[in-house]
Symmetry: D2
Amino acid sequence: MWHVPKLKEACGVIGICSPKSAADYLYFGLRILQHRGQESAGISVLENGRHFLIKGMGLVHEIINSDKTGHLTGSKGIGHVRYSTHGVSALQNVQPLVVQTRHGEVSVAHNGELVNADSLRTDLQNRGWAFLTSSDSEIIVRLLANELSGHADPVRSIKNLMRIIQGSYSLAIMIGDRIFAVRDPYAIRPLCIGRINDGWGVASESVVFDNLDGEFIRDVEGGEIIELTCDGPKSWKFPSPKDKAHCMFEWVYFARPDSMVDGRLVYDIRRKIGMKLAEEHPTDADIIVPIPDSGRAHALGYSEKSGIPYGEGLMKNRYIERTFIMPVQQERETGVMLKLNPIKSEIEGKSVVLLDDSIVRGTTIKKIVQILRNSGAKEVHVRIGSPPIIAPCYLGIDMKTRQQFVASSKSVEEINKIITSDSLGYISIKGLVECIGLDEKSLCLGCLTGEYPIQIEGEMVRFQKQLESF
Amino acid sequence: MWHVPKLKEACGVIGICSPKSAADYLYFGLRILQHRGQESAGISVLENGRHFLIKGMGLVHEIINSDKTGHLTGSKGIGHVRYSTHGVSALQNVQPLVVQTRHGEVSVAHNGELVNADSLRTDLQNRGWAFLTSSDSEIIVRLLANELSGHADPVRSIKNLMRIIQGSYSLAIMIGDRIFAVRDPYAIRPLCIGRINDGWGVASESVVFDNLDGEFIRDVEGGEIIELTCDGPKSWKFPSPKDKAHCMFEWVYFARPDSMVDGRLVYDIRRKIGMKLAEEHPTDADIIVPIPDSGRAHALGYSEKSGIPYGEGLMKNRYIERTFIMPVQQERETGVMLKLNPIKSEIEGKSVVLLDDSIVRGTTIKKIVQILRNSGAKEVHVRIGSPPIIAPCYLGIDMKTRQQFVASSKSVEEINKIITSDSLGYISIKGLVECIGLDEKSLCLGCLTGEYPIQIEGEMVRFQKQLESF
Amino acid sequence: MWHVPKLKEACGVIGICSPKSAADYLYFGLRILQHRGQESAGISVLENGRHFLIKGMGLVHEIINSDKTGHLTGSKGIGHVRYSTHGVSALQNVQPLVVQTRHGEVSVAHNGELVNADSLRTDLQNRGWAFLTSSDSEIIVRLLANELSGHADPVRSIKNLMRIIQGSYSLAIMIGDRIFAVRDPYAIRPLCIGRINDGWGVASESVVFDNLDGEFIRDVEGGEIIELTCDGPKSWKFPSPKDKAHCMFEWVYFARPDSMVDGRLVYDIRRKIGMKLAEEHPTDADIIVPIPDSGRAHALGYSEKSGIPYGEGLMKNRYIERTFIMPVQQERETGVMLKLNPIKSEIEGKSVVLLDDSIVRGTTIKKIVQILRNSGAKEVHVRIGSPPIIAPCYLGIDMKTRQQFVASSKSVEEINKIITSDSLGYISIKGLVECIGLDEKSLCLGCLTGEYPIQIEGEMVRFQKQLESF
Amino acid sequence: MWHVPKLKEACGVIGICSPKSAADYLYFGLRILQHRGQESAGISVLENGRHFLIKGMGLVHEIINSDKTGHLTGSKGIGHVRYSTHGVSALQNVQPLVVQTRHGEVSVAHNGELVNADSLRTDLQNRGWAFLTSSDSEIIVRLLANELSGHADPVRSIKNLMRIIQGSYSLAIMIGDRIFAVRDPYAIRPLCIGRINDGWGVASESVVFDNLDGEFIRDVEGGEIIELTCDGPKSWKFPSPKDKAHCMFEWVYFARPDSMVDGRLVYDIRRKIGMKLAEEHPTDADIIVPIPDSGRAHALGYSEKSGIPYGEGLMKNRYIERTFIMPVQQERETGVMLKLNPIKSEIEGKSVVLLDDSIVRGTTIKKIVQILRNSGAKEVHVRIGSPPIIAPCYLGIDMKTRQQFVASSKSVEEINKIITSDSLGYISIKGLVECIGLDEKSLCLGCLTGEYPIQIEGEMVRFQKQLESF
């Protein structure tokens, strides 16, 4: 039984305004957002009028510690955790990015992906700009600085920036001594506002505020610009479409189960998905088994709806969340360390329903099916909490190549054969949308339909009219 | 909601004989045993007739890596992971210990605790011996070497060693080019034999063999001396009492749920405990919620027996399994990072049964009860998978002071008040014993009864007659 | 006896073209230039058409090692070592800087200092540019990229860059797959060309080629643009003044004694300075003692000319070249570790002439004079290999504040009293110029005269006519 | 021009008693002794009655820092630096060694080598003792502990220890709360007593006290046992031969030039050796050039006596004192980094006398001769400050194999040809002894004569009668 390295990853951002010191809140907030990115971490804190930057490759507690933050007393700051990519220029790309401008320093932390990054970069290079990093965030921070140089008005600069950049972006921005939070007009990646003790914050997920003994207040709206002050948030609106494009994968997989994302508790939606799967693809199996930890809430829902008992039939090593793997060890590591181990008493002689959040290549789920069979499962029925993934994501998830998706060229029945299960059921798009409880027009389902909320070269646009309408 | 730093910890040992290289198996085996000890790790590998030692403070993958093991080709070796103690002399105490003797090198890895360590140490010091470490293991390895010096017979030496040392010991020993595994006559801490591909191994838990694509064969018996060869194990027996003293805590808390310990799958016993709790302390609550990850199997059992739905009502940060904490951060870390976060939709307005494996001081469970109340729980009923802990462990668990046990001076009803729950139910000793399915005389229940299987100064002995009988 | 932390520091640059791999030459070349900068190190190597960057804070061998370079096979690359400054933004400023431009990547390594950096930065910020670092080098690399975007002609771009930037600059530049070396029109900081085995290189000092079994060929001229190819250098000239402004401190202190700088062997000039000092400030002392290692060649010259014996009367700890000092230890470290220890038999009862390269604040030399007295010196006569430093350097040496120079407000006689010596003699400016053997008009003596070869706001310009003449 | 990795290395020890804190003095004292050993460092400090140990592989400032020592207030402690050996078991062998005994803790730091270590080890192993390290120091500390167990009298224990161990030993010992220093009866390795501020210390070299603003008092005598108290030293004598066996290499190479060793300033003796060489092997050369840094004082003496000018004709990279070298780089590192670079103006067309302290294999000096020739030297005359090394050292220097000594099988004339010099002159044994100024009978000249002061199996003993006489 094997669990693959994640193909689906995002980032996390945070911004804090606290009359006491912001650094501590940033540190703990990023640790709470660690599941959104494990490659790098950084904070930029307003300290005596300057943006004091601490960042590096590694987990939050490896990069930021009290040795480095103990002397910081600034009341404002932003932070970032970044997902795991590999590349020689990784260090330069670590966020926040801080630039010196005519009107002071500007720091930016970005979760999302610009679809016009390449053309913007080319345009700017043609105008003589050179880029020190390969990240979208440098485009954002420098366009912003360019805007600011003309009029020194942060909100106007942000609005003009929003006219230029297209794609998904949840931003925490510090301009001089002011903090802003911005969410793209489609509200693709999450961003929310909360209270902390005597101050205020923005963060990718509401769980930050729960853990900091604070309080989740509300989501940042699509196209909203928030200024974060210690007296509370101020808000401006950038013209935005009525229908949003929230990434359905946040609920299905990314976000922590205890987070509220766009008004919906993640855990609840996963349970509903499980229940819906029980309706759409019923079985008369003996036991419902999740792939830990991603399939647990789905499995509980399926169990509740079907009345079939839930069991923790697969165990994983909880000390493998993150390890720097030596290249030569990699293959064996993948084999041995990520292995899921069956609880024979839960599996043997039984008809098992196996629940997970999604299938990308199908190789992992196949191995898990086989492990269950080797442990004596009479039947293995696979139920998946998202519809088949058939198309790339251009808006913040690291799934780029159509060929890697088993569902892009195979029917469900073919996939069922490939993964050697007795039956395979994906939730329907309609079912998923129902479980989320939002209008389909307010979701980004690009990877499921191949139609995207934003114009992407070579891809189809959904709701063309909507795009033209504002 | 808060989760305390663990008070209950053990160690893990492994021994491997593989015609190919042992180092890889030791590395992966120790990673699989990582949950048994996170402070230090080490291996001793037979390499060209010498014992090649790699060890240090840290997690397995931080200490042992392919840079250091890539050139190792020896077919035999032993390894150790050690639990988290703190002390200035920590580095010297890291295992395995290797000594040079008249008849070659001797390496020892030890899980357990000697009850006559102090008197042995004093005796030997009086004879002019000096100790370089403060560990029981130095006593063991040097007594063994002393024995060997007389006659060079490993098995005879081990038997004579067993005549001298008293307490719990599961040992992996390499003497020259031979590997032995030894379990104390009472079989207090676990130790088992398994196959790996083309070789054989011993390990603290059977899960090692599952994950290495090998096969669990059987437990090492109390008083058994195993020689591990690539053709399989050879066995000698040291005179041992018929009744054993298996530590009940291995099933209740320590061992991985997917391990077989002394013939019983840990997961099954935890479920049975949960079911028994439902019998002994029934409720008519709305939902059964575990403290993750330790209470999960108990909760599933309670749910199954009671028919009350199971829900994952508490979430934890899965990136906190181990962090080096700066002293000044410690307090806040404990507060923020270890916090459990409630899923409101599972808790609000409900009568909740909260399941965990044990209560030591009671401070953590109290915080969790309060978190549930703050999330709107109508009632909170606590059910605990072990009887009240009232006495210290002298046989390998780091629970030494009576004063730290809330149950040593308070009644269950008093504890119920202290932790602010609506009701509190511990499993009974009788119930626990039934769930484990072994005769009470074969279990060590010292921390529950204050009566120990072995004579300990100032404590009562259980089964005095038994001790005298062999 | 005490030796102060250095106040006078520079940087080192290198560029290599070798048909085999450039990385090894860069690594070893930077280690040979290590005395020019110990804070950070980096290389950028052309690898499959891309600029592969390795850099960080630390000594060369700590940052660049065969683990990281072993796979590099590119034939071209540049490198940099940076002197010790301290600041929170240190990491971002580590060189080389690499940018992505319309016409590929551009890497820059810079030794020197721009006098119009602030105004350029402001101009560019006013035009909307934002800066990710606080270094002059970002100004250079981005101006260069801006130029390139228009016409893609590297040499034309470099020439246009040279029209904009003012100050000292010895540059190694990689533009796409081509390497250039540039020296400012005044040839302020050193730069030379040499052969290495089957290739060619540029480096701050000729000693690089000696140690790499190569051959020093010639200095890069002021205003010269070199393209480094594996077939040898090509050259272009930027209009430059006939008279140069070589920094006299390179010969007096910075460069290694075995380097040729602008046609003169450093060791020879230091000996000549010592001889000139013996003429200008003779003594009838018993022994000539250098402050190791900086005053050794000067002392040998003084001894030779005066006939007074040379003795190594002061010893230093050779394991203190560089240590990361914990802040709290710093004061005591400075006291204890940097202490020079007298050889009593060389000092006691003698009249001693103490030689060093320069005096900045005077605190160190005072301590050393006292140590000699405590060791029984009858008289202590101090002779200094540079004239009094009275004004800041704006062209690459970290001496910025007039107040720190004891000679800016005190006469030689007053300084003699302050440092408690029996006599004090600085070499005269005229004498120094004679020893260097170049026309005074070809030297930068700004820190000695307060008149600078380049217009600096608030300071006097020397040779105003010269500036206007080309 | 090449400089070989050192074949000749020793260790350094220190003991401090200061009413304030000892830890700081130990730290700085070891840094001052760093030239005696760069592989590992450690201190053991008496802290609340316990021996608090800090040690590890690396330079002093890498192992011991204020983070670790800041809280230490104990007034007593010992320390050790160890020379560079390579081996897998290196970590265990790091000193001080600390053992737990019947009468408290015992810490030992040892400079020297026991000639009966193997037989002692075998004897003790036959008695059933096992050794955790491969160091002589474990033999010493455990024999001492064994003695102590009988009567708890430290001085008596040390005397009995001295009856058993044979060889060279300068020891710093902490027994419970008392510190002792011991020097073997032949006083082979150095050890001296000094004052520090308000306390007292012992150290391998007097330079420690100079640098700590203290005062060298006297050498510890051969066979002397010193107890170090804050009121000054107490002394006991172990029966010792009248004639000593001071290692001549301490003056020729090991000790710092500014140290007093057994009443003689090292620098003075090196100068005298140079002068004596000028008498025994005169030349009419043009310049005297040392190999830096080891040959400098010898060269100054030769210059003074001969009247031929002294010149620093060879430069070395001062950033290579110590580097962890990756195995694959090692060969090239040795080639490039350790290279000495000639100052052509000092060499070209001249007849050069090259001075160094000793020749072991002859490979390095040959390369240096060739470099001088390549730089245009007309003639190269080599003068060596020690007589030919023909036999191993068994008493503390890492020169063990006769075959590695070029002089063990070749005549001086043959070596002259091998190293391609025009003439080669070693100082005579008689000359060396005169320069040192002690009776030949008080020196260990074993490596020069093959006759040792102590019985060594397979070797000749010098002064047999002397040995029998006490």
